[in-house]
Amino acid sequence: MPETDTLIDWPEEGVARAPYAVFSDPAIYAAEMRRIFRGPVWHYLGLEAELPEPGCYRLIDVGDTPVIVLRTPDGGINALVNRCAHKGTMLLFEPFGRIERLMCIYHNWSYDLDGCLRSVPFARGINGKGGMPASFDMAENGLDRLRVESLGGVVFGTFSEETPPLEAYIGERLMPNYRRMTQRPFKVLGYYSQYLDSNWKLYFENATDPYHATILHAWATRLKLNRFTMEGAIEMSERGWHHLSWSKMATDRDGEVYETEAFRSGGGDFDEFGLHDPSVIEQWDEFGDGITTAIQTAFPNFVLQQIHNTIATRYLVPRGPAGSELVWTVLGYADDDDRQTGIRLKQGNLIGPSGYISLEDGMVGSLVQKGIEGDKDKASVMEMAGRSVESIVNSRASECGVRGFWTAYRELMGV
């Protein structure tokens, strides 16, 4: 249950406002780690494809907590807190690898792949002296475990017993796109991350906000890859916590508003914009539905992305009140042919820290972080399409996705 102390007075406009203080207050950050990251939410932990054999593991940070995700001998998946029960030492530090047991380097306490403590060096002392007392219970000194569920090859974990089953958490309205993008086994094409000088929520606000996309990201707008005037929608999950934004680039109508209204992304100082080598946007309709952009989020920090033929997961690791790390896993599908892989790799220019379409996303968060520092008592304004978290069809001129994020946030934080 949410704690009840008053961290902050939320503005009366509700989720159409976000008080600036939530982006920098250390006490609020500490509460987020408890109430959200240890709360009733599912966290992205990685992919089944990253754990092909028993003993294969990957590391991931869930909020402030380091976690080991591993394949068990019977083919299951465990998520264990990466911390020895003895002194709190991290057990593993290579990000990926394969192990038969978990042994702490500090005093060699050893655990099996279920996190059960199996041996403690010198437990019986030396020459009958010293050692652990008879009262020491190995069974009570195992590793902390997360609940784990895997869906469509994507592994999630939660610290809370109250978290609903994963499919119910994502919700019926958003499961169709989740299934659409996870129906074939994934193949990992690579990893990279971005350190952002901004609170984690500023990036996640950006990811749930299609309003900015065709205005800030001039590259794609000028090339008519994404415009608000295309067929599209923002679909909200039942409780409003998660969103899906999609569009079809072949359906643009009246797109010249970007030019006639003189948006920067419509031409600005440079009317001749075009590609000298259009092979970078060569693409195919891989899902057979004409959807060229689909951004799906799961509160608090997960993004499943299709931008043309770039498929990726993104998750955020909060790094203190004013920093965060955005981690990308660049994907294809296991049955891609060489031409399809080649197209995905070349379209890789569109995403990530150098992405034509994405390089501004981390940067704007740092501009907000600097902009709001001196006025903690003020708030941002999100009234596009009102103050509700209703879905919107045949338009994306709504900030319902961002308000949905704040709906979940307020509920879990009790603010």
Binding site: G190, Y195, R222, H276, V280, T341, Y356
Partner: protein, 156 residues
Amino acid sequence: MAGDVPAAVAALMTEYVHAIDDDRLEDWPGFFTDPCLYRIATRDNEERGLPASLVYCDSRAMLLDRVVSVRHANVFEPHRYRHMTSAIRILDRDGAEFRTRSNYLVTRTMRDGTMAVFSTGAYRDVIVVEDGTARFRERVVVCDHGMINNLIAIPI
């Protein structure tokens, strides 16, 4: 070691970093053959055989598109680089084609005066010399770090 570094190769390495550091990005595609390969990759991905790049260009026109986008489409806080390069090794020579390795370090200075080491790693190059002029057939920038501070807009 497959011999000394030819003057044309050394000149290419030097002119390349000065062009970027002096903000003459329009000159940048001219350092490459056409077609060519320019990639920014990470050491972890390369060592694990994972092919994804941060930047991937395989023609001079694609390099030019990067420059046009930096100048006219992408927006970001203005900044400049300073490249330090060293330890050029000729790994292999096949006629007028050289396979080389060298180290780089790039500092990034923002308009407010903040300066920090931005990237360090290795250039893995294939360089061809024609009529005394060297050009990159391939330049793969392998960053030692998989975490990028905010963004990479300007080429390394």
